[in-house]
Amino acid sequence: MEQLANIPVFVEKNYFAGSRFDDALDWIEERSDREIHTQITGQLRESNEEIAVEGRVLNVARRGRIRRIALLINSVQKGSTDLNGIVLTIGSDKTEREEVAAKQLVLMNWLRRNIHDDFYYDGEEIDHAVKRVQELLAYTEVDAQIWGTSKEGQPMYIKGTVTNARMERLRVGLLELRTTPKSIAKESSAQVLTIGGRETAPEIMRELISIVPDVLAHKMLFTPAYARTRGKVENVIVAENLTVTVDNNFDIIRDVSFKLPSGKIMGIIGESGSGKSTTIRALIGDISPTKGQVVIGGVPSTQRKQVKPIFGFVPQDLGYMYQNFTPLENIIEFGKQYGIPERELVRRGKILLREMGIFEKGNQSVNTLSGGEKRRASISISMVHRPQLLILDEPTSGLDPDMRSELWDYLDYLNQEYGTSMIVVTHYPGEAEYCDTVGVFMRDRSLVAYGSPAELKASLPGKGYAVGIILQQPRPGIATLLQGVKGIIHVLERGELIKVFSEVPLIEMSERVVRALQAKDIQIKSVKPKMGVDMTDYFILITGRQLEV
């Protein structure tokens, strides 16, 4: 079941009365590729119970006299609680057909692409369902949840895996389902059941195709195997006491622990040899940690088969793509390994290439692309299975500053559009500013700091601010010279800019520094008493590269 904890900060909202149901359908249809959620207040037709529920829109139907929304219920604010996780069909306030007569609808566009691969059909649409399931079965397994009635007319809920989908004579669609032992009407053991559409009466079925289905479906929700792991969790990755020891008892990383909330971007910065790459390899299960554990998307990384579809990995080396293939061919070849149908891969691939600005290069060999284009192609490959977590190993290395900035814009877009969490290893500390959280690694000490860029900078003396000074003439050894000034904790030289860190109020500190410099006849060009600190300053200070006063 999806959790409300993941509602984004910004959503597009609109209110509709039940009598304006058609307008609500229009609103949803205009945003057909977006993830739409709905809060409904209305009445369960069967029991006349008043309910208030929230759920994700699976699809809308507008055919003949039918007008309805299929909603996968996420939470129940009012009414029966056992509606959680089931599909309800919503109609207007006057509906005589759908399960809920809506009095009020609050539609919410989550402003991101609908990446859910589950799909819904009404019982009478079984021939369409069969066709779509048949296509999928050629590539992967398909799970199904069926709400319907048994031969005897008892209500039934069946959950299982589709073993067969076929069209009988006269376009009568039939599904076969290996069920898991759960049913609304009665407890049952695992078995294979035939599923027919609800519109066809058992007698007619017997007459037409000599088969009476075990269940006549009213509602059908299908989930391909590659989308099984799409459930959201609060923290997309949790690393606990991760330690990797090499043969000579040397810990490459030691007790690395962090959590990354879903939908956030985490940056990893650190010195060379500080264990960044080892951490990444331990996270994805490429090397087994000596101690500790990693849970990705709620699945321990030791369960490699289950965890692989949850994350995507973008290696630093651009050679990890088939150079003679086009970006689209690469996307297809890698994507097939997740069991995604080729047609769907082509569709997703084209969207990704367009989003990454290399659509027109989609049919050129990878080896003809520029470094930046290759990098974006590589990211597209890792995104095709819509991972919950994307891990990027130094994606901006080898790019000029403009292209680095551009690439971060693309990453930010993917994060927003797909809700994909990211871990980005970078050796440019300044890039950590793009991230929600940052982990800082140091040689022999592993993870030494973890938090948002603002939190990390606020941990420095001056709480994220410093006195900024520019001298008329550059003066070597200025840090040593300022050593005697009371209250200075750090002095940082970055080009001609000198930053002075202190716990003393910065105005006062700036006056002290000016007096000290004047006493030495050093001419000052400018002084900024309260200058912002960036992540590069933070990194230089925390790794101890700068002279500590």
Partner: protein
Amino acid sequence: MSSIEPFKRIIALTRKEIQTIIKDRTAMLLVFLLPILTIGTLALAIQQNDIQAETEPLIFGVVDLDTTDTFPGLDLSENFTATLASLDGITVVPYENESDAYMGLFLNEIDSYVVIPDGFEHALSMDLPTIVYVHTSNTQLQGQGNAIISVTEAALIFRQKLGWIRSDILTIPEVEFVPEGDVLAVQVGAFLVVFCIFMAIALISCQSIVGDIPLRRMLLTPTSKVEVILGKISAYTIIGMIQGLLLLILWIVGFQLNLRTDLLTLVIIVSLMSLAGAVSGVVISSFSTSRLQANQGFLFLLLGMMILSGMFIDVGVISEFLPMNLGMQLIRDTAFKGLLLIAGWQEIIRILIYIMGGIVIAILVLWRKRTLA
């Protein structure tokens, strides 16, 4: 996880691998140009016709049909047989009739048989030239020349020993189990068909893992290492089968051969060779940590297989375990002798054991390797 999914992934990997090869012009050149060049070279070699042979131990069958008794006190045909038996490295097995000797040759009990015709003694005693027929097997290229040389030598010694014989004893070679066509093209061609398929596929597949850098990334998808090995072997086997078909057509049509088996049998044999070659290459590739190592591994395989092929030296029992030798044996039994493929079940099983063993080794080696180097 679905039981069909690994299968689908293997198919996807196979397709990807074939696409990779098709897009790699050098690999395509290796696959298709190499066989054409090899068969072309054979044609050139046949034109020059300077194949040399060396004398080696031989088992002769002798069918003595001579009933004449015109030389008092000495049976000349028996004496000729004794002379042949006295030569170094020659063993003689007597046969009552030609059909028994033919069967002995068919079953590889003897390397060759000599037929001494009726009237042998009469002709010699009347100073008339006479002949002996030397029947050799087309399945033993080396043995053919050696047999003729030995019988000719025996005839010379026989004449010298008796002193009075003035007439010639002519040795007439008769090659058995020869499909219609050029004898050398049949013999060497068969070797080249097997050799080219096995080696060309081993050559390109020995880069299949070590040279496949993106594979490490592919292994971060749900693909398993077992699926990767099977996918790669399948792809290279398919390429080998296509190559094999091309070679067979070149061999049969180019030299206008009329082999004693059908095309399907030959395709099955070359498919087995292709599979064995692909497995050999993938095993080398899985062991190698650089392309150079893979090349060296291939060279080792190439030289080893050539030396041990049995075409140049007798390798004894080793011949019964090496896939190329077994493939050659299958070709000889079917295309030359006209046996059904099922008669070679022991060879087929040994080839399959080699293939299975190779697959297991490749999987075990790859299992220990990490995803991202």
